[in-house]
Symmetry: C2
Subunit: 443 residues, 2 copies
């Protein structure tokens, strides 16, 4: 009988291994994809792409035991050679190649210049060849940072005693209803794709007090802008026993502090590759919705057209205002008008035209919507009635409140938007692995 | 200008705080939901449900400054009282109540006996009142363990230098095609919900070497069994530069070892509540598909009806065989027949009727399918042609191989199935927060 006993030790070394112990002058074995091959006459530079970065290898006819022509861009190899120090090389090391074992070969030449530092390729071409364009070191680094953001979100919330949940994406009814739902047939019944885990995470606050979910949400909006997707990853949390909606903003500030610290500590390579300076999140200003509109209107001489709506241009000006006045990258805009928020939002008892809610703007773009929710059953039924809604299809959600719920609130963060703003991109597709928009359903 | 500066310090204490410092005899403040109220005549026991567990509070008319009738099951409260030691109470502590602040009240009495240790309620009733039934301590604990499984998966893979990815669930084309796809209209184009992130994770192996994803998958299968769901959470990884498909099994064994250790260390409460003994995963036997069938057939006198298929009853017998013969909870069954595996599976060069693939059985139930994939473009095109498939809709996937891919493989683990087997449940709906099956689309 044969047994599996755990992770296998690799015969090949990673870049970290090559750098950490003194192996200079020793024979080492590595693998990787051929990122580029540069014939310099006397020597040929073979640059391997590994998950940690690039590794410079040198081919010289006199020392190598094979023909350099067997090495092509896009091949994957296992190389054996002598490790040497060279401060001009990436990570300060290079390998003088002795032997090669070709693991795989491409069938055709690369369609994009992935080995260039900047590809100068159109966004469309990058997306059409997504699995190729991401082999570029800069393109790839964006998604490494994205990993760090999601990891920071989860690890911070575990530390704060949140429980992770997994809620269904196919449902009979959604949180906010309306026209922006994708519809499908579910075994001869009409169904929708959830536009948010809102109702589920609230239901679970009565069970776990604090819950979070990181997962896809679906919005059939016919927007065609640089900041909208029809499917995106939402970082959601919901917490009970709050004293007010400020507790939610405090928790989000804690998340940002934790995550920027994590990125600085463990994602330094990606930050350097993308030349990203982490924002200061030690304090984030907060301003009321109506006040924010007024500040931006006054400073930038812009008329307020609708006091109950915030246009994208106004968001942008508010972002600019707080950057100029407070050197703040983020700003919490609070007390959104009730008519702009869903039925479950808690109105401000001091002025019910507004809600105990907020958006977080990052350089003038909304990356979070959150707030306190109604937790009292009768209050919820009144709000539903006042909106001319029926509770049809919301029975189980409403039952949750019927049998008692703590005061609670939460938020949703757009993962791709947060990544986009952190990196300084101006199109959300740049920070989405496989974007879904009005025209794009593939790859 | 007001600022948010990070997580707010709570005025109330959690169970851990109550236990950790010596606060005996001191006045403490806590909050929670009223799990049960038991009037014993002289005193009333008020059991609070908090995220960490239950907290016993004692009401006596002479010391409390309020009427006990204001406390109802399902209310949420903030209590002030004197902390005392009592070894009969949960966690060995109790609070003698002085004051109460009612945070919220239920509108109706509880429809299920959630405060009982075992509810003795039908599965259907539990699912119909999901947000209520999970307030039961045992029901809730299942999903705490599920969190630990997913957390273990991710943390182990981060440690092994995998990159987390987020791939789209709406697509034009799926990994395996066929009848079990949910279909929807995507802005006047036909679209499907992905039954697996397979094609995407392979595409990303060429970028990051090692990738993983934890997310929903959708299968429109008309199965109505205790082990099938139409939407479930899949724990997927894919890794490059493998020497063989054994590397995938070794990595999965490492995951199980890491995760059982994590559960033992950080999820002890849930393990105790559910009376779960963690399985021994120090070594997992592996057996060929044809050999496994033969062993089970011989020992249990069961005829092999189809040498190229494994029926659920055979899986169950194989599980039983290895439990009896090797005291093994898990067994890797390897070399599945080629005709039972998708086009991208790598055939065994020594006998192409079989593949370099495996399933992992846990107590006789398949919880993982994995294996090595074809990485050579021409080989992939040949397999597609031999199956009578066309490459239509697979262009970007195939391009990935055209431009070079390392030898690679991976697996998918059913999160709900793994949880179900770990806990010893016999219906997957017991370990699914909100199951989706042929008849259930709500809540």
């Amino acid at each position: 009988m044969e047994f599996m006993t755990g992770v296998k030790k690799q015969a090949t070394l990673e870049i970290r291994d090559l750098m950490s112990a003194d192996r200079t002058g020793k024979t080492v074995k590595v693998n990787g994809a051929v990122h580029s091959v540069n014939d310099m006459g006397a020597v040929t530079f073979v640059i391997l792409r590994k998950r940690e970065g690039l590794l410079q290898c040198i081919y010289e006819e006199k020392t190598a035991e094979f023909d350099v022509n067997s090495i092509r861009e896009g091949s994957t190899l296992e190389l054996e050679g002598i490790l040497e120090q060279d401060e001009r090389a990436p990570h300060g090391i290079e390998i003088r190649i002795r032997k090669v074992r070709v693991l795989s070969e491409p069938a055709e030449a690369m369609p994009l210049p992935v080995s260039k530092w900047k590809m100068n390729t159109s966004l469309d071409a990058k997306l059409n060849y997504r699995s190729i364009s991401l082999r570029n070191i800069r393109e790839r680094a964006k998604f490494k940072l994205q990993e760090g953001i999601v990891r920071g979100f989860r690890d911070f919330l575990y530390e704060q005693e949140f429980t992770e949940i997994h809620t269904p994406k196919i449902g009979a009814r959604s949180a906010e209803g309306g026209a922006n739902l994708f519809r499908l047939e579910y075994f001869h019944r009409p169904a929708i794709l959830q536009q948010s885990p809102q109702l589920y995470k609230q239901m679970m606050v009565g069970v776990f007090d604090r819950v979070f979910e990181t997962g896809p949400v679906f919005r059939a909006e016919k927007h065609n802008t640089k900041r909208h997707l029809n499917e995106y990853t939402s970082l959601d949390f919901e917490m009970g026993y709050i004293d007010g909606f400020e507790d939610i903003m405090a928790m989000e500030t804690g998340f940002l502090q934790y995550t920027m610290e994590l990125l600085g500590r463990e994602y330094g390579d990606a930050l350097r590759i993308l030349n990203v300076t982490l924002p200061d999140v030690s304090r984030i200003p907060m301003v009321r919705f109506d006040e924010a509109k007024k500040l931006a209107a006054e400073k930038y001489s812009r008329k307020i057209r609708n006091p109950f709506d915030l246009e994208p241009e106004e968001e942008s000006l508010i972002g600019r205002y707080f950057k100029e006045e407070e050197n703040a990258d983020f700003v919490f805009v609070t007390h959104y008008p009730s008519k702009k928020r869903p039925f479950y939002a808690m109105d401000d008892p001091e002025d019910t035209r507004y809600t105990l809610s907020f958006d977080l703007l990052y350089h003038g773009l909304e990356i979070t919507t959150g707030g306190q929710r109604i937790h009292d059953y009768n209050g919820l039924m009144e709000k539903i009635a006042a909106r001319g809604m029926s509770g049809d299809g919301l029975e189980q959600y409403l039952n949750t409140f019927k049998h008692g719920m703590p005061p609670h609130g939460g938020l949703g963060i757009g993962m791709e938007r947060l990544t986009m703003k952190l990196i300084g991109e101006d199109n959300i597709r740049e920070t989405t692995l496989f974007p879904r928009d009005l025209s794009r359903l593939e790859p």
